[in-house]
């Protein structure tokens, strides 16, 4: 519960304070807010097979030159599945658990990034990018009247493609797709896995 509060306040701080402070740096900074749909892959899909319709992303990018930005990206993707599948325990004492399970994965990527843009300023600009940083992975398995939870920081990368389409002088629309891959993952019961998912985003770009 605590992380939700922290994340909520982080959003408020970023939205209310950080953006207005950049007013003096015309055209240097821009922000992007996206709604994201995510598709689990690999070990993440084994745990929660459902597509996630709960996701947001927040980007802040600093323009180095007309085709390159560096910045930070934050996100929140919620995966959930209720299942009756048998969960095989790859633990020291092997076994299996069956029952109605509520499987949750809350992924919070916090990453530094670099992007390269094609096209001309104020035109349609496809881009390629690479995000690298950490994921805060909050996994919870509710079964019966019990639940187990595993919260971890995991290192990872997220290659990205996207396009920015200007609407007017200050507002643009962004479509992007990220392949999120965490290479130091752990399952809810502590076995080694690698979380991965693809997130597709649509949002607005706020030009300063």
């Amino acid at each position: 519960m605590k992380f939700r509060k922290i994340f909520y306040w982080l959003f408020l701080v970023l939205v209310c304070f950080l953006i207005p402070q950049n007013q003096g740096y015309a055209q240097k900074w821009f922000g992007a807010a996206t709604y994201q749909i995510s598709f689990p892959l690999g070990d993440t899909k084994d745990y929660t097979d459902n597509t996630s319709f709960r996701g947001v992303g927040l980007d802040f990018r600093y323009t180095l030159n007309k085709s390159t930005t560096v910045g930070m990206a934050f996100g929140w993707n919620v995966f959930y599945e209720r299942t009756d599948d048998t969960y095989e325990l790859g633990t020291e004492i092997p076994g299996a658990i069956t029952g109605t399970q509520d499987r949750y994965l809350n992924s919070f990527p916090i990453m530094a990034n670099i992007h390269y843009y094609f096209g001309e300023r104020r035109g349609v600009r496809p881009f390629l990018g690479l995000n690298a940083g950490v994921y805060r992975m909050v996994q919870r398995l509710g079964i019966g009247i019990s639940a187990i939870q595993n919260n971890r920081w995991e290192w990872g990368v997220a290659p990205e493609v996207g396009i920015i389409i200007p609407v007017d002088r200050e507002l643009s629309i962004m479509f992007n797709g990220k392949y999120n891959y965490a290479f130091t993952g752990e399952s809810v019961v502590g076995t080694d896995i690698n979380h991965s998912y693809v997130s597709l985003g649509i949002g607005i770009v706020w030009q300063q």
């Binding site: 947001v56 325990l89 299996a96 200050e170």
Partner: protein, 208 residues
């Protein structure tokens, strides 16, 4: 004139941005979305086995004709329960279906199977309030909710009589669920859950 127009746009876009993200936070307010649980949804069947055990050599079993009932303090209870014979019968039936042979004399059996049953009364409670009350616990917005429920646990343990000194079980099946159901419902759940414990333990039939 142009400056004024730009300022109006800035306010408009910033407002859109803020509202959009506030909406996202509301949309995402639940890290743990979910659905309601029925009594049978609370059933959990967990099985564990000794990974060094050779189940292919264990094909005869002996089990007592009564269940060991334990109270909440861990003391044995003399009175039989209404489902005891049904539980024993179902366990025996599953062993026979997996190719085991019952031995009346425990001294001749490869494994001994003992079943324990216990019930526990749980009391729980919480604060039913609206969303903002979760963050800010204003006393006026909290409606205390207290509820109780009883859970039942069936624990079946398979031991190797030649290895009693180690106290290591070869196989353990634990079945747990809320007993808030009618007797027919509980009876069906007991049978289904015992069957599932064997279904998720295919190694028990290795010697078939």
């Amino acid at each position: 004139m142009i400056t004024s127009h730009l300022k109006r746009n800035t306010i408009l876009f910033r407002s859109i941005f803020f509202l959009l993200f506030t909406s996202f936070v509301f949309i995402l307010n639940s890290c743990y979305p979910g659905e309601a649980l029925t009594a049978s949804d609370t059933d959990v069947i967990a099985t564990f086995f000794n990974k060094d055990a050779d189940f292919s050599t264990k094909m005869t079993f002996a089990m007592p004709d009564s269940i060991v009932r334990i109270d909440e303090d861990g003391n044995p209870v003399g009175d039989p329960g209404p489902y005891d014979q049904q539980i024993l019968s179902r366990i025996k039936q599953n062993f026979l279906q997996m190719g085991y042979t019952e031995e009346q004399d425990p001294a001749n059996a490869d494994v001994h199977v003992v079943t324990f049953v216990t019930t526990t009364l749980w009391a729980s409670g919480g604060c039913y309030n609206w969303w903002w009350g979760w963050w800010y616990p204003y006393p006026g917005y909290c409606y205390p909710v207290v509820y109780t429920y009883t859970t039942g646990t069936i624990l079946t343990v398979m031991t190797d009589p030649e290895n009693q000194a180690t106290l290591d079980a070869l196989w353990i099946a634990g079945i747990n669920g809320i007993l808030e159901d009618n007797s027919a419902g509980i009876s069906i759940r007991i049978n289904n859950n015992i069957d599932q414990a064997f279904k998720q333990s295919p190694y028990l039939g290795e010697g078939k």
